[in-house]
């Protein structure tokens, strides 16, 4: 299995916007993600999880170490990666359809065949019938579905997800988690998922990477050997709870 993402000894400094003090977010992060794997990153608040994700997407320059995607150094955003942001960030002046096709339009790659594929993508995320609506008319959960569809529409190799379900209510969140595993199983994309929710991380992933507190390094990597497909029932199984406890303890030690 080829290594899709390789991060070696990554040092990243995060500079806030209004001339805030620069902050050392990552100090020697080593991370590897194989093709088709679902890997989560968890850790204490503000530890640098999002920073490493943005660095892998090419939105943030790194100050040390290297990040390789498909064995090529990352120098900026690219068509092989797509980000699902925490706040849905759907462009409010575009319809759902306009938003989902946004990436394709930018690349100039929207044509008839693509249109059919987008329509099946919309079905996949469960937004059929909402194509002509505007983001303000959608619930939080639906916006995140559109957010997901927008990232999938450009057919990236790798999907980077930054706490996409954080601002969604608990019931919708569980639903979306199951849907995400189904989408992952169907599309077989490599997924790197950042979250605060430990049970979410264990439920979704093959492996959970635990970060230390800032400046972040990898504390430990937990292989989640829960058989797939996983349903919501799995969430209450003892096996799952054991894993959650294990990850919790690792984070406790860090803080």
């Amino acid at each position: 299995m080829s290594k899709k993402i390789i991060a070696r000894n990554v040092v990243a400094i995060y500079r806030g916007k209004y001339n805030q003090e620069p902050v050392l977010a990552c100090n020697g992060v080593d991370l590897e993600v194989e093709e088709g794997a679902f890997v989560s990153i968890v850790g204490p608040s503000g530890c640098g999880k999002t920073t490493i994700l943005y660095a892998i997407d090419g939105l943030l320059p790194i100050n040390g170490g290297e990040i390789l995607v498909n064995n090529k150094r990352v120098t900026g955003p690219g068509a092989d990666r797509a980000m699902v942001f925490q706040s849905a960030s759907l462009l409010p002046w575009r319809t759902v359809w306009g938003n989902i096709t946004y990436g394709l339009r930018l690349q100039g790659e929207l044509n008839h065949e693509k249109v059919a594929k987008i329509q099946s993508l919309i079905d996949l995320v469960g937004l059929r019938g909402f194509e002509k609506r505007y983001p303000s008319e959608l619930s939080g959960g639906m916006q995140q579905r559109a957010n997901l569809a927008r990232a999938l529409a450009v057919n990236p190799d790798i999907l980077l997800l930054d706490e996409p379900f954080a601002s969604v209510d608990a019931q919708t969140r569980e639903k979306l988690q199951v849907e995400l595993t189904e989408i992952w199983a169907r599309t077989q994309k490599t997924m790197l998922f950042v979250t605060h929710d430990i049970s979410e991380a264990v439920f979704l992933s093959d492996r959970v990477v635990v970060f230390t507190s800032r400046p972040a390094r990898v504390r430990e990597i937990v292989e989640v050997a829960i058989p797939r497909p996983r349903s919501l029932n799995t969430k209450h199984s003892t096996l799952m709870l054991d894993y959650v406890k294990r990850v919790w303890n690792l984070i406790e030690i860090s803080t």
């Binding site: 690219g78 068509a79 930018l106």
Partner: protein, 274 residues
């Protein structure tokens, strides 16, 4: 709450709703009704004031006279020429002000260095009553149609520029990040994110600019024109033909209302999301 949960309950609910008293038309058109009463009352008082000898019709005219004059004046060619003259300088001036305000304002809001350089100057000039500049501008540009347009542009451009600056500054970082993550070029970032995001600000600025443009056009005509509604009002008022002057004033007001209504339509059509 459980009345809705069963089919019977639903039927009961719907039945209850249809038994509600219908909305009286006086409630639905409340504002229109009372607004019309207000306007009509004002006109009535005006006419009554003249009839009772409290108001001198030589100076104030009467609503009836204004109305009759309107029927005579508005369809006339003479009046039409004045109307078209003002309308032309207004439209041209507003167009130029819109283009200039947006083309200069957006980059000024977007690039922090440009903003730091120009913002104090713009704020200072905006603080001065724009009409105060008019005699100076007339000296610079002379008399003629061009100078009228320049004055309209001068009157209208500042709200547009300032609002464009604001719009560009307040483009949400989240949206910019989305653009970058999809490898948008700078041009694409501008047209797909910055411009649509700024549009509500620009249209809001246009709202203010329309009012200022009309004032500018009319005042310019006071000073140095031989055509236009402003010139017409000045002429008629000076010759104590008040009814004619009032007709022109009302026409101007309606023109302004029409422009703003058009703007509101555009806002609803294109900026519903904000």
């Amino acid at each position: 709450m459980s009345s809705i949960s069963t089919k019977q309950g639903l039927a009961k609910e719907v039945g209850a709703l249809s038994a509600l008293p219908p909305i009286r038309w006086t409630e639905r058109y409340f504002r229109l009704l009372w607004g019309s009463i207000g306007v009509f009352g004002f006109l009535l008082l005006w006419q009554a004031g003249v009839v009772a000898g409290l108001l001198d019709p030589l100076f104030t005219s009467t609503p009836v006279e204004v109305l009759l004059t309107a029927f005579r004046l508005v369809p006339s060619r003479d009046f039409g020429v004045h109307f078209v003259s003002t309308a032309q300088s207004l439209f041209l001036g507003l167009l130029i002000a819109l283009a200039g305000g947006v083309i200069f304002g957006l980059p000024l809001g977007w690039f922090p260095t440009l903003h730091a350089i120009f913002e104090p100057v713009i704020a200072a000039v905006y603080g001065v009553p724009y009409i105060a500049f008019l005699p100076v501008i007339i000296m610079w540009t002379g008399i003629g149609t061009t100078s009228r347009v320049i004055i309209v542009v001068w009157s209208a451009i500042f709200p547009l520029m300032i609002n464009s600056i604001q719009g560009a500054r307040e483009v949400d970082d989240n949206y910019l990040r989305v653009g970058r993550s999809f490898s948008a070029t700078n041009l694409q970032m501008f047209f797909t994110i910055a411009l649509p995001s700024s549009l509500p600000y620009i249209l809001a600025g246009l709202r203010t600019s329309i009012g200022r443009a009309i004032v500018g056009a009319v005042v310019a005509e006071f000073f140095m024109s031989s055509k236009g509604l402003g010139y017409f009002i000045n002429l008629k008022a000076n010759s104590l033909e008040m009814a004619s002057a009032f007709v022109a004033v009302v026409v101007l007001a309606l023109f302004g209302i029409a422009l703003v209504s058009l703007l509101t339509y555009l806002e609803n059509r294109f900026c519903n999301w904000s």
